[in-house]
């Protein structure tokens, strides 16, 4: 399966740096603004992750919850998200887009319909937080059929045998949850431990790209330069929250923050 995500990693590998992956929430704080933010940061990030706001999330920290709350309050619906993505993908600087969310929204929309829609608007990858292996096998197959990369998560608590099964059933990209936490919490593990887990996953199948997320901030990011990619989520949502609070332009503020992170990866 060749998809835009693979191309992005080809570039970052050539440049000998990890892919920088942002996470923001579709519709935060308005539909228009969230698209503007996405366009602005696309000048800096290699891959953009977009959250589908859900009001009973099982693993989101307070920053992402705030973003989701704003988005839902301002009326974001899945169909809006899809039309925004369609617009975004016409933008010349657009990056591969990964949609992330909870299974309820997909279940409610209808799995097949959802994946078809993702394909038609140009979504490159999907992360479904609460659809773990092996319950995700069918969903994963459906994604593959539609050339969408289904990205599975591996946590520090994941046993070695389970890890092997997940890697075996995974597509080209795997998401390593850095530490036992929800998103945005302070890192409870040392960089050394996290990188050791990273190596364990890589060793199972070195051809798969592994990205690390949860607790990646300006203070921690430089420790993980050797990873294939790094996801910055809550830190992004926090910048947006602060910009809105202070009447500043979140699109510009966030791009500046991501630029400074990218500096640290050199």
């Amino acid at each position: 399966m060749r998809n835009e995500i693979d191309k992005a990693f080809k570039i970052t590998r050539k440049e000998n740096r990890p892919a920088l992956i942002s996470f923001t929430v579709a519709g935060d704080n308005t539909k228009k603004k969230s698209l503007e933010i996405l366009k602005s940061i696309s000048n800096t990030v290699d891959i953009a992750e977009w959250g589908m706001a859900f009001n009973c999330p099982g693993a989101d920290g307070p920053e992402i919850q705030n973003s989701s709350y704003r988005a839902i309050k301002n009326g974001i619906k899945l169909n809006d998200t899809f039309s925004l993505i369609k617009k975004y993908k016409k933008y010349k600087n657009s990056k591969p887009l990964i949609l992330m969310g909870y299974y309820q929204l997909i279940y409610n929309y209808g799995e097949k319909k959802f994946i078809k829609k993702c394909k038609s608007v140009g979504v490159s990858g999907l992360i479904v937080v609460d659809l773990p292996w092996p319950d995700n096998k069918n969903f994963s197959k459906l994604c593959k059929k539609n050339s969408i990369c289904f990205i599975q998560l591996i946590a520090p608590t994941t046993s070695k045998s389970r890890m092997k099964s997940i890697v075996k059933d995974s597509h080209q990209l795997i998401y390593q949850v850095s530490n036992v936490n929800i998103t945005g919490g302070k890192l409870k593990s040392t960089a050394k431990t996290i990188l050791k887990n990273y190596q364990i996953i890589k060793k199972i199948n070195p051809t798969k790209n592994v990205i690390i997320g949860f607790g990646i901030t300006k203070d921690t990011i430089a420790d993980f330069k050797r990873a294939n990619g790094l996801v910055v989520g809550s830190a992004c949502c926090k910048v947006i929250s602060n910009a809105i609070k202070n009447g500043l332009n979140p699109a510009k503020k966030l791009n500046n923050m991501l630029l400074s992170l990218k500096e640290k990866l050199k």
């Binding site: 009001n55 099982g58 659809l131 319950d135």
Partner: protein
């Protein structure tokens, strides 16, 4: 295929992936929690077969929770309504004032066995929180209770009790500030602390093992009741078992031993709160708090707001076990408004020396509605699953008085 299998306990009717009827329940949880949940599941399956553990549980039920709760006839109400005999299984007489005492105690026992030093639980009306705080204190475990800020203010008495028992009450100020948000926050806390904390889910909801532990614990109610009925009647007469449904933990416990009787012999009726009634209103299936279940939601899939005067019923979803009982038509579900519940209380107070909480008041309302239409040899039993003292203030505010 939509039939309950005979000779298999209700909680064990799921497939290898934790789904009842292949569609309700399951384990929709973040990868981080998979291993801890698997460990808990293995521990629970071992403990429920372990005679030593069962003896310990029975000892706690007997000496710590006060043993068998009473079963008696409401002579005055029966006479007044002039139909079926009305009986009460007074679970509110337990130490801890509600059925939540059973699974709070069992959760603390399991936490102890697991070697974890702290417990986290959610609560709506505060009954589970109160009992969990009590059990944690008894067994010297640290305890955190997650509770919506709306519920903290309307069930202040229970909050005071939890704090006095040494539990930390964590206020949850997101969303509707009620049970649904408390459960979400508690589950997030668990994801962050799953290696050191035992999660005690407050009802027969959540990922597979959590609802099993809950229903297994509350089933003590129907074990007792069955022998009490046989002692009283010499057989199982034609029964109507009425129970309120929030998450559904008391009803499962009240019905568990009677599932295999035909529905003409033992009729099971669940009563939901009118504006938190996924079963009565034919809500669609949603994935909420780790499980697929009938659940109130908007057309975009966001979980809907609910309303009930009773904090314990103010929840948009319902136990996957009840979804199974509904689909197999083994149980019937109906609903009752706030006013209906309050009117039922007034009548109960007038004729009986009984002080139900707002939750079982919903079941009493159904009892009052159907009793006159039934024959004298039919027996209605209501699970009086909670004591009213916690609601005295709310009730007084609504109708102007609360009896001594």
């Amino acid at each position: 295929m939509t039939k309950i299998k005979k000779n298999i306990p209700l909680i064990d009717q799921h497939n290898e992936r934790g789904f009842y009827l292949n569609k309700f329940g399951g384990n929709f949880v973040a990868e981080t929690a998979i291993k801890p949940i698997e460990d808990l599941s293995n521990l629970f399956e071992k403990l429920r077969k372990n005679k030593k553990f069962l003896r310990k549980r029975d000892k706690y039920f007997k000496y710590y929770l006060g043993g068998e709760t009473p079963f008696f006839k409401l002579e005055n109400l029966t006479k007044h309504l002039g139909g079926a005999q009305i009986w009460c299984k007074d679970v509110s007489a337990i130490n801890g004032d509600a059925h939540k005492a059973y699974h709070a105690t069992v959760n603390a026992l399991i936490c102890k066995e697991s070697g974890k030093k702290s417990l986290a639980g959610d609560t709506g009306a505060g009954m589970f929180g109160k009992n969990l705080a009590m059990a944690a204190k008894e067994m010297k475990i640290k305890c955190k209770i997650f509770m919506g800020t709306k519920d903290i203010s309307r069930q202040a008495l229970n909050v005071k009790f939890m704090k006095k028992a040494g539990a930390e009450v964590v206020p949850v100020d997101t969303g509707s500030r009620t049970l649904v948000d408390a459960v979400s926050e508690c589950m997030r806390f668990y994801v962050s602390n799953c290696q050191t904390t035992h999660l005690a889910v407050g009802s027969a909801i959540g990922a597979n093992v959590f609802l099993k532990i809950c229903a297994w614990s509350t089933s003590q109610i129907s074990r007792e009741l069955k022998s009490q009925i046989i002692k009283e009647f010499g057989k199982i007469p034609k029964l109507h078992l009425l129970n309120v449904i929030g998450g559904g933990s008391s009803a499962i416990g009240f019905w568990n031993e009677f599932i295999n009787y035909s529905k003409n012999h033992v009729k099971l009726t669940g009563v939901e709160a009118k504006y938190a009634a996924p079963l009565t209103t034919n809500a669609k299936i949603a994935i909420l708090h780790g499980a697929a279940q009938y659940c109130l939601q908007d057309k975009n899939g966001q979980i809907a707001d609910t309303h009930s005067i009773s904090a314990g019923l103010d929840y948009p979803g319902v136990s996957p076990l009840h979804c199974m009982l509904k689909d197999t038509k083994r149980a019937k579900y109906t609903s009752c408004s706030d006013e209906g519940a309050l009117n039922a209380l007034k009548l109960i107070w007038k004729y009986e020396n009984l002080r139900p909480s707002l939750e079982p008041a919903h079941a009493w309302a159904e009892c009052i509605r159907i009793a006159p239409k039934l024959k004298k040899d039919e027996v209605i039993i209501v699970n009086n699953c909670g004591s009213g003292s916690k609601d005295a203030k709310i009730i007084k505010n609504k109708i102007g008085y609360y009896p001594k």
